[in-house]
């Protein structure tokens, strides 16, 4: 799975890492139980501070997407808790995206098609 990091983006780097790993898990690029690189290895590959990667992993762990232990490092959880509802923050974000698309003249069907594509996974 490829992660694209933009250092000049408004989104903090740890958030970019977190978001892309979540997307990877969602579309199946990262399988359940798959081993993630160590904090040090990922930081070295990206040329960023280990604290940044650590923060991303901490968040992913807190949200229940990955599990970490000293022996095996970080792995994708095989039993991610399905709450069945969207967080308020995500609803606001979705609303913003849909609003921007509508204002840009993107047809409703196009948005639905994209949602179906992303929701459907691979």
């Amino acid at each position: 799975m490829i992660i694209r990091i933009d250092e000049l983006s408004d989104v903090p780097i740890y958030q970019q890492i977190r978001n892309q790993i979540v997307m990877g898990i969602s579309d199946g690029t990262l399988a359940a139980g798959e081993q993630l690189p160590t904090v040090r290895a990922l930081a070295l590959e990206m040329g960023i501070n280990t604290m940044t990667v650590s923060k991303a992993y901490q968040q992913l762990k807190m949200e229940g997407y990955i599990m970490t232990d000293r022996k095996n490092g970080a792995r994708v959880r095989s039993n991610i808790e399905k709450q069945g509802n969207m967080s308020e923050g995500n609803k606001t974000e979705l609303k913003r995206i849909v609003s921007e698309a509508r204002l840009s003249g993107v047809p409703k069907q196009e948005i639905i098609k994209l949602v179906e594509k992303f929701y459907g996974g691979k």
Partner: protein
């Protein structure tokens, strides 16, 4: 000695010039980096392709002319006489040749960057890609492959110590202090240094060229395998040379043999680099079709050679021109490295001035106020006559088998600590062109081999000692 020095310099500069030629590609479409600029798919568009071909061909042609010109000059320099003059001219020539050979690259790089701007292509500043499936997992260097030659080398060092200490007796070899052992130890440390570099290179970040993790893994593994082979070869060559050098000193090979072995050592090292560069370029060409992600960080590369990225926390990155890695000059350590580099260049030229002064100043031996004074630029050795146990006059240096441990060894000057007649730690102050010498042994057991500017001066001082 002069020819040997010239030959060593010749091999070094010729190898570098030949390696640099690989970075002036004629078939640029097969390359990943063209004159320090990452190849983009837009380069194949009509109008752009022709301009790039023109820039690349021009740079290639210029580089070939410069390489041929420098090679001819290098051949002529082999016949230079005088150590200081040789050192000065060779050093200036090497700096000039390297700068000259980089000029077409720098000019071509500038033109390509301007062309990128002209067609509206810009670097994705601050953007980097990481393959999470491969991060930190692609390695090709097997620790055992570098450990074995280092252990073999260490064994040679131990044997050298035992021989030098007289624990292992070798017929015909008189233990000359720790000279051979120290030399072997030095080469072993070189091997350790190469090992460290090998591990650093093996831990370099894996490049992302495709959205397929398997392609990325295979590509990076192939590149690292090639690099690992080069370093393992280096360590083995180093180990073999240590053995040859040790054997040479113990068996008593001539200086010429040892010089030839150094030349062979250098040729093998440089040959290894040339083969490495060839395969490295070949791997890039093989993966051209699979390359779909181009991490364009050209703006962080000054002249396509110097990496300066304040946002990158890494100290080492892979070079764009040359073999191995280069430091990120924006990194605090990188800044220190650049200061050290400038100091090294200044130091090189200051050393040449010093060598010139040493060579141009004749030695002087005198007996003044009851002291034997060996003078050149300053009083090197002052031996009170009252401390002298014995003094012998000799007229042939050859049987002494002088071997330098530290100090100066020129065609016209031998000065410093030497082993002589099987004794280590002897102080030498001689002009080898003048065969006459005085062997002085002090009451404390220190041995001196000293001589004057000519045989007459040496004889005159010896007569005062009688």
């Amino acid at each position: 000695m002069g020819l040997f020095f010239g030959l060593t310099m010749f091999i070094c500069i010729e190898s570098v010039l030949l390696i640099y030629l690989f970075y002036y590609p004629k078939k640029w479409k097969e390359k990943k980096i063209i004159l320090g600029v990452k190849k983009r798919k837009e380069f194949s568009e009509p109008g752009v392709e022709e301009k790039i071909t023109e820039i690349v061909e021009k740079a290639h042609k210029q580089a070939v002319y410069i390489t041929v010109g420098c090679s001819l000059i290098a051949v002529a320099l082999l016949f230079l006489k005088g150590f200081a003059l040789q050192t000065f001219i060779w050093t200036c020539f090497i700096f000039a040749a390297l700068i000259a050979d980089m000029m077409p690259y720098l000019m071509g790089h500038k033109q390509l960057m301007a062309l990128k701007k002209e067609i509206g292509l810009s670097s994705e500043k601050g953007v980097s890609y990481v393959d999470i499936s491969n991060a930190g997992r692609i390695h090709a260097l097997k620790p055992v492959s570098v450990l074995v030659p280092n252990i073999v080398c260490l064994m040679i060092v131990l044997v050298a110590f035992l021989i030098d200490l007289g624990v292992i007796a070798v017929p015909g070899y008189e233990a000359a202090g720790l000279l051979a052992a120290v030399m072997s130890l030095t080469f072993w440390l070189v091997g350790i240094l190469i090992t460290v570099f090998a591990f650093v290179m093996d831990n370099f970040r894996s490049e992302v060229i495709s959205s397929d993790s398997d392609v990325n893994a295979n590509y990076n593994r192939a590149k690292k395998m090639n690099m690992a082979k080069l370093y393992v070869l280096f360590i083995w060559i180093n180990t073999i040379y240590t053995a040859v050098n040790e054997a040479g000193m113990v068996i008593g090979f001539t200086d010429m043999w040892l010089m030839i072995s150094i030349v062979i050592y250098l040729v093998l090292l440089m040959g290894g680099i040339i083969v490495f560069v060839y395969y490295d370029r070949k791997i890039d060409a093989l993966y051209q079709k699979e390359t779909e992600i181009v991490e364009d960080d050209d703006e962080y590369w000054i002249g396509g050679m110097i990496y300066y990225n304040p946002k990158d926390k890494r100290l080492n990155v892979e070079k764009r021109m040359g073999v191995g890695g280069t430091v990120n000059m924006a990194h605090p350590v990188g800044k220190l490295v650049s200061v050290a580099l400038v100091l090294c260049i200044i130091g090189t030229f200051l050393s040449i001035v010093w060598i010139g002064m040493v060579e141009a100043t004749p030695i002087r031996l005198s007996n003044e106020d009851g002291k034997v004074i060996c003078h050149q630029l300053r009083d090197e050795y002052v031996i009170p006559v009252s401390d002298i146990e014995s003094a012998e006059y000799g007229e042939d240096l050859k049987p002494l088998k002088l071997m330098r441990t530290s100090g100066v060894g020129m065609d016209t000057l031998l000065k410093g600590n030497f082993s002589a007649e099987g004794h280590a730690g002897c102080k030498v102050f001689l002009n080898p062109q003048n065969k006459a010498y005085i062997k002085i042994v002090t009451k404390s057991g220190q041995i001196y081999y000293v001589g004057g500017v000519d045989a007459a001066q040496t004889k005159e001082v010896f007569n005062t000692l009688k």
